[in-house]
């Protein structure tokens, strides 16, 4: 018994020392360093990924960090691990560690020159990395685009369920409105079909006017939000949950019965305009505006309304307007995400926007963490990766994922990264001479719960 305890103690002390060592080694790495390192790893995979995979006995490079392969054919587990170590983990760690001086110099220079320039360079690096990584397989392009769309959905729902503290279920409905409105825009004006006849405009104009279609999708979703908001925000209470749930079902059956939009069969023929750069740009715009909003005093009024409506009212906050604006804003982005979604799949049908979709979006919000932009990004990315990685397990996936969620809810009831402020400019600063300083993402110390 004491030997057992001894061992456990020694293990935990080793664990602590390893963590300590990692912190000392890597905490001075600026975000720029991590981005550079990721780019190097991706270029490495482009150059030697396939030969290395063959060498390790695999037929081609593992497309999603080897998860799918390892689960489908467990004999490949060692190969997949070695591959991930050699292509991703070691290069990233090495480049990040070795580029500390250079990275910090560069990050400092960028920041001094202009914070905007720094943001642009970081985004450029991030996009470049994603582009090259995804470029190696069509499957990756699809996964990345759907993941970015999931970020938009999760973040916009977090505005209502997290920042505002109400429980809304209408996001699939808003998404459907956006998806159909944007699809109608594309098909009616630029493609044409049996129902609508010949296109009204030359298709060459399409990609340039596509943003208008997406904004239209967002606007239609926001209009739909009016139907939910007016009855729900009259008085305080749990009306929103019920009304928004009803709304979701109404929208679904509405589209099932609109024959000119294909009814239950759905609508296809959307042009391939939702390319990776387009989806990426919209996601950045979404994250940027939402983060701006929730960090402004106008946006923080949502927290005040959530944590004490009476006090908010007495401090001049127009609580009804605050809730309405946030709700429309969230619906707008869900609509835009829906429009992009329809153009990624190039097909849309009402069955997509059902309870399962709702469960997914809610799961991403609560997994990532309420009241947190980083949390929503982390939630959406990890849920999507997990969901793709576990795909070979088929039915068991739907046992494992809920179990994981239950674990998260037990050990971190507010989600992975809740109540955290996302200060982008601070994140991009160099990290010289601050060993022990918290890693990327950690910004203002805010209490949990």
């Amino acid at each position: 018994m004491s030997a057992d305890e001894n061992l456990r103690q020694r293990l935990s002390s080793v664990g602590r020392r390893v963590r300590q060592w990692l912190r000392v080694q890597f905490s001075p790495v600026p975000l720029l360093g991590w981005f550079l390192a990721a780019l190097v790893a991706v270029i490495l995979e482009m150059l030697v990924g396939t030969p290395l995979a063959r060498l390790l006995g695999m037929s081609k490079f593992p497309v999603l960090f080897g998860f799918a392969l390892a689960l489908a054919q467990p004999v490949y587990i060692p190969s997949a691990i070695v591959y991930v170590l050699l292509i991703y983990v070691l290069p990233v760690a090495l480049v990040a560690r070795l580029s500390i001086r250079l990275g910090n110099l560069l990050a400092g220079w960028l920041m001094r020159t202009s914070p905007l320039l720094s943001v642009v360079v970081h985004l450029g690096l991030l996009y470049g990395t994603l582009h090259l990584w995804a470029g190696l397989s069509d499957y990756r392009v699809l996964v990345v685009r759907l993941m970015l769309i999931a970020i938009m959905l999760t973040l916009s729902l977090n505005v209502v369920n997290g920042y505002m503290g109400e429980f809304s279920c209408s996001h699939p409905g808003f998404m459907a409105l956006g998806a159909y409105a944007a699809s109608l825009f594309s098909v009616l004006f630029f493609v044409g079909n049996d129902a609508f006849g010949a296109p009204l405009l030359p298709i060459g104009l399409g990609p340039f006017l596509f943003p208008l279609g997406l904004i239209l999708g967002g606007a239609v979703a926001a209009l739909g939000a009016l139907l939910v908001a007016i009855p729900s925000f009259r008085t305080r209470g749990d009306y929103l949950a019920i009304i928004s749930l009803a709304f979701m079902f109404i929208i679904k059956s509405l589209f099932e019965n609109l024959e000119f939009l294909g009814g239950a069969r759905g609508l296809s023929g959307q042009p391939d305009w939702a390319s990776l750069p387009v989806v990426f740009a919209w996601t950045i715009l979404c994250v940027w505006t939402i983060n701006n909003f929730v960090r402004s005093t106008v946006g923080k009024a949502l927290n005040a309304v959530r944590d004490g409506e009476l006090a908010a009212d007495a401090m001049t906050v127009d609580t009804r307007r605050t809730k309405m604006v946030a709700f429309f804003f969230a619906a707008f982005w869900a609509g835009v995400a829906g429009g992009l979604f329809a153009h990624v799949l190039r097909y849309v049908n009402p069955g997509t926007f059902d309870l399962k979709k709702l469960a997914e979006v809610l799961a991403m919000v609560y997994l990532g963490g309420l009241n947190s932009v980083v949390g929503s990004i982390v939630g959406a990315v990890s849920y999507n990766l997990l969901s793709e990685a576990l795909r070979p397990l088929e039915l068991y996936k739907w046992i494992i994922i809920p179990l994981l969620f239950i674990m998260v809810m037990i050990f971190r009831p507010t989600g992975l990264i809740a109540f955290r402020e996302f200060d982008v400019v601070k994140l991009l600063h160099p990290r010289e001479g601050t060993p022990g300083h918290a890693g990327p993402g950690a910004v203002e110390p805010q209490a949990e719960r």
């Binding site: 940027w288 505006t289 701006n292 909003f293 402004s296 005093t297 106008v298 946006g299 923080k300 009024a301 927290n303 005040a304 959530r306 944590d307 004490g308 009476l310 006090a311 908010a312 009212d313 007495a314 401090m315 001049t316 906050v317 127009d318 609580t319 604006v325 804003f329 009241n371 109540f419 203002e444 805010q446 209490a447 719960r449």
Partner: protein, 256 residues
């Protein structure tokens, strides 16, 4: 001109007449007290004037304008700040965010500024922050500015509520038992702060208090409310010696 005037205000909660025939007139810069036993209806008077409840009867005027029935946020932005008997702070927000929030109705950058982080928005947020820090300095809570409010000691939380109410730039400040639950040391500090705020900002103050010492020291005129009715109104000395007050309320304390 009278800053705040209430004419014949009556309020029923179902069958309970919580306030009946209440009148008050407060001049700019005046400190006025409202005392009375528990359940007398003092907080209800505040809630009626600040718009939380609409009075069953009566009229309320702020700065010559009728405010009866207006929503609370409108009344507040017209220059009526308040604190609460039981603290009402926002548990996830920092002290600084609390004080900044009370500038809500004065913000001019609008939704475009909020969404797109315009230069104007940054400038305005900076201005609000400077002003908020000044107010926190005034109440002696500036060292806590970046802390989550729930991590503060109780007395400090009361000061934050006061600073927040001041950020509205009120013409009149309603304080509902600002020293409730405080120890003697905190109480003396709070009274000093209230006096300081009154001196520096020159606003009128309407104070509900339970502890005699506080009202007697601070207020120029005091009303005594019992079962929703004003039974006496006068200077601290008059109130102290009024037999009806002694009987209804002060009795035990004065004798002791």
């Amino acid at each position: 001109m009278t800053l705040l005037r209430v004419d014949d205000m009556t309020h029923w909660f179902g069958g309970l007449q919580a306030v009946s025939g209440y009148n008050v007139a407060i001049e700019p810069g005046q400190i006025r007290g409202l005392i009375g036993p528990n359940g007398a209806g003092k907080t209800t008077v505040f809630n009626l004037i600040t718009g939380r409840y609409r009075p069953t009867e009566g009229h309320i005027f702020l700065d010559g304008q009728e405010i009866t029935g207006l929503p609370p946020h409108k009344i507040a932005s017209m220059g009526l700040g308040r604190t609460f008997q039981n603290l009402r702070l926002w548990r996830h927000m920092t002290v600084l965010e609390h004080v900044k929030m009370a500038r809500y109705s004065k913000i001019t950058y609008g939704l475009a500024g909020a969404f797109f982080g315009t230069a104007r928005r940054n400038r305005e947020e900076d201005d609000i922050e400077t002003r908020a820090r000044e107010l926190l300095e005034l109440v002696g809570a500036v060292d806590w500015a970046d802390h989550i409010v729930t991590n503060l000691p109780y007395g400090m939380q009361r000061r934050v509520e006061l600073a927040r109410a001041l950020a509205i730039q009120p013409k009149i400040l309603f304080l509902d038992e600002p020293t409730a639950g405080m120890n003697p040391e905190e109480l003396v500090q709070m009274m000093e702060i209230v006096r300081l705020v009154h001196e520096q900002l020159g606003l009128a103050i309407f104070l509900i208090e339970h502890r005699m010492k506080v009202v007697m020291d601070l207020c120029e005129v005091i009303q005594t409310l019992v079962f929703g009715q004003v039974i006496a109104e006068g200077t601290p000395d008059e109130i102290r010696n009024d037999p009806r007050v002694i009987e209804a309320y002060l009795g035990k304390e004065v004798m002791a």
